[in-house]
């Protein structure tokens, strides 16, 4: 039974696309069939972050409008066989994304894949609503910063009211993914602490992704951070979050830089 997951946030620039790519790759590495779907019509970027930008022929809107078959629009990842991407269109026509069309494509994706991960556009309008509409699970990506937390609160309200699950009397499973977290600044009282954000948003925590240079490096290279530097703190945090999505009970920690052999030999002497 396929699971549909939406990665959403309300606010832009908090790490939805980065997280979609990293989690998609981590889940696919376990051998499951995963598709990542870019819902940001007009501003497609998931293809770029995944390094597939030069291989886009057809897109989500082409499939919705019947100009291409789903199998023609899906791009198979070159590194992981079980990972595919369905790119968004660059059209400026906002009405190209129809509710019926999205429902049809989502149904077809459910039949083909184990995980359908929808990368939502920022905002609370049509695109964001359609990205979350068919979801069973939602990942709310939040930065420890006031405007991001406020927008996440809005999005959580929408997840509980305007989705297919909610309208049918059910509940979407919501998960908080705290990104760009800096433990040192939080300890100094310069940044909202994990407990503060959890208390305010009160949804279960899926993982904490530490602020890291590796994330920009990964997008520069066009590779999910879980593939470009799998031992880096953000990659390990994403890999653990992916395992929690599959139901594993893992203690939540903030991964830190692993020390090299030399550093370990001279531990505490620096």
């Amino acid at each position: 039974m396929a699971k549909v997951l939406v990665v959403t946030s309300g606010k832009g620039g908090v790490g939805k696309t980065t997280s979609t790519a990293a989690l998609g790759a981590a889940l696919a590495q376990t051998g499951q069939n995963v598709v990542v779907v870019d819902f940001d019509v007009g501003l497609r970027n998931l293809d770029l972050v995944m390094g597939a930008e030069r291989r886009v022929v057809f897109d989500l809107i082409n499939v919705i409008q019947g100009d291409a078959k789903l199998s023609q629009a899906l791009i198979r990842d070159k590194r992981i066989e079980t990972l595919s991407i369905l790119p968004a269109s660059q059209t400026r026509d906002k009405d190209a994304l129809t509710a019926e069309g999205v429902a049809r494509v989502m149904q077809e994706l459910r039949e083909k894949f184990d995980w359908v991960i929808c990368d939502s556009p920022a905002g609370i309008e049509r695109g964001a609503q359609l990205a979350m509409y068919h979801a069973d699970h939602a990942i709310v990506v939040t930065n420890p910063e006031v405007s991001s937390v406020r927008d996440s609160d809005r999005i959580i309200g929408m997840l509980d009211s305007t989705t297919e699950k909610a309208k049918g009397g059910g509940k979407i499973e919501k998960h908080l993914l705290l990104t760009r977290y800096d433990p040192a600044r939080a300890a100094r009282g310069e940044m909202l602490r994990i407990e503060d954000v959890l208390e305010i948003l009160s949804i279960p925590l899926l993982g904490i992704i530490p602020e890291s240079e590796e994330v920009l490096r990964a997008s520069n290279l066009g590779a999910p951070v879980t593939l470009s530097s799998p031992d880096s703190p953000p990659a390990r945090a994403y890999a653990e979050a992916a395992r929690r999505l599959e139901g594993e009970k893992l203690e939540i920690t903030v991964p830190t830089e692993r020390k090299g052999l030399l550093a370990r030999l001279f531990k505490g002497k620096s």
Binding site: E145, V146, V149, R150, D153, R154, G157, A186, R188, G189, E190, M191, L192, R193, D196, I200
Partner: protein, 91 residues
Amino acid sequence: MSLFGSLFGRGTKTSAPVARDRLQILLAHERTGEGNESDLLSKLQAEIIEVIKRHIPVEQEKVQVKLDRGNSVSMLEIDIEVPQIRTPGRR
């Protein structure tokens, strides 16, 4: 932080607790006021001005409304510039 500040404790207060408190107050209001229909304060404001208008001609731009939402108490301050009122019956 200056040397003086670091010698004698924190020179400036940390900002994260301020962020947390501001968010808690804001979201408590935003969650109840979904869609703004149930926002008591804006209803009050509209009705108070309506009552006053029934008796005195009030120009819209002479009305100043200030709102301060607090944790336990909120303040609604309505300032209306009232034109000279002539006593009825005498012309």
